[in-house]
Symmetry: C2
Subunit: 203 residues, 2 copies
């Protein structure tokens, strides 16, 4: 039995919506297990001077149109325009890192993206933040205290360092036994790779 | 009958290889006609300060690995590492623009990419340049004189301006009745869009 495929992502990435919302169904369909690994992609992108959309209005306009078309193709709800970029990206991901440790990361992430992409309430800020924590079955007061403690802040930085050490530079990324795939549009490739691993074939 | 789908590309773009080599078979398979439209993507990217790989070694290393995996998936030959970036990108595309006007653009582009990606001879430079023109059934002396004339230089600039006016910022791009798709990994989406146009359905 191989290790689960790692799903590395940051809440705040737009294209990540197209992976987050499809992951549960794809996991079921292909019998692939995913380990949800939130990190801070913004910190890595700033460090690498890799800023694909800010100050690039033509490319940014294309991105929204592309996401709109792809969401329609996947049958995902979407109400553009939505607030972007997130003012509280780190807050959103500090909660996600705690959620990953405690086992409710997928439910929280899906809820917060839905509030953001459908109800236009930014992830990481109220009312999205508490609503998403609650929908994941948790108490917002308890969660926010833990997520914003020194340990919570450190945990996000540690996850981000780990992502960087794997060669990750964008969100979403998928890692199957050390093999890195970047982009929601490489999800099927990653699943195929993982399948070959599960069957004992070389990639 | 709708207009052919426009295939906008620059010789010099790495991912464009994965579109160029698949296009004839896909055109046949899906009954879609493509109009090959070479332009100078480097000029547009510099103008937009949109330089995704230079000075980004982690992302560049990923790009080559991704191209290698995708070429294998599509059954395309590839011998990495290949020379990059092209020293004579404009020369390569001046010839392509002339070829598009004269009707041998696909043959020349496929030949020059094969010489570059399989035999490691950069497109736009000798021996690739004359070999690819010859393989497309043309006389290199005639072609190079025309391509490098004032008219030839102007024709590439005009094509690049037209690309920019369509909102194109990268290569390869596909335009189906004004709808823009960017990336070799959106080729199937573009074909689906064109199909709906051909059948008189709204996109």
């Amino acid at each position: 039995m191989t290790a689960p495929m790692e799903f590395w992502y940051s809440i705040g990435s737009t294209y990540t919506y197209l992976a987050v919302m499809r992951l549960p169904a794809l996991a079921e369909q292909y019998g692939v297990e995913f380990s949800w690994r939130p990190f801070n992609v913004r910190a890595i992108m700033i460090e690498m001077d890799n800023i694909p959309f800010a100050k690039k209005p033509v490319k940014a306009a294309y991105m929204w149109r592309d996401i709109e078309r792809r969401a329609a193709k996947f049958g995902l709800p979407l109400r553009l325009p939505i607030p972007y970029p997130l003012p509280e990206l780190e807050q959103a991901n500090r909660v996600a890192v705690l959620a990953a440790r405690e086992g409710w990361c997928d439910a929280y992430t899906i809820a917060t993206y839905r509030h953001w992409f459908v109800e236009r309430n930014p992830a990481g800020s109220e009312p999205n933040l508490s609503a998403s924590i609650t929908e994941a079955g948790q108490d917002p007061a308890r969660v926010l205290e833990l997520a914003n403690s020194d340990d919570g802040v450190k945990a996000l930085a540690t996850a981000t360092d780990e992502a960087k050490s794997l060669g990750i530079f964008g969100s979403p990324s998928f890692v199957a036994d050390g093999e890195l795939f970047w982009g929601h549009d490489r999800l099927e490739d990653a699943i195929e790779w993982q399948h070959n691993l599960d069957q004992g074939n070389p990639g």
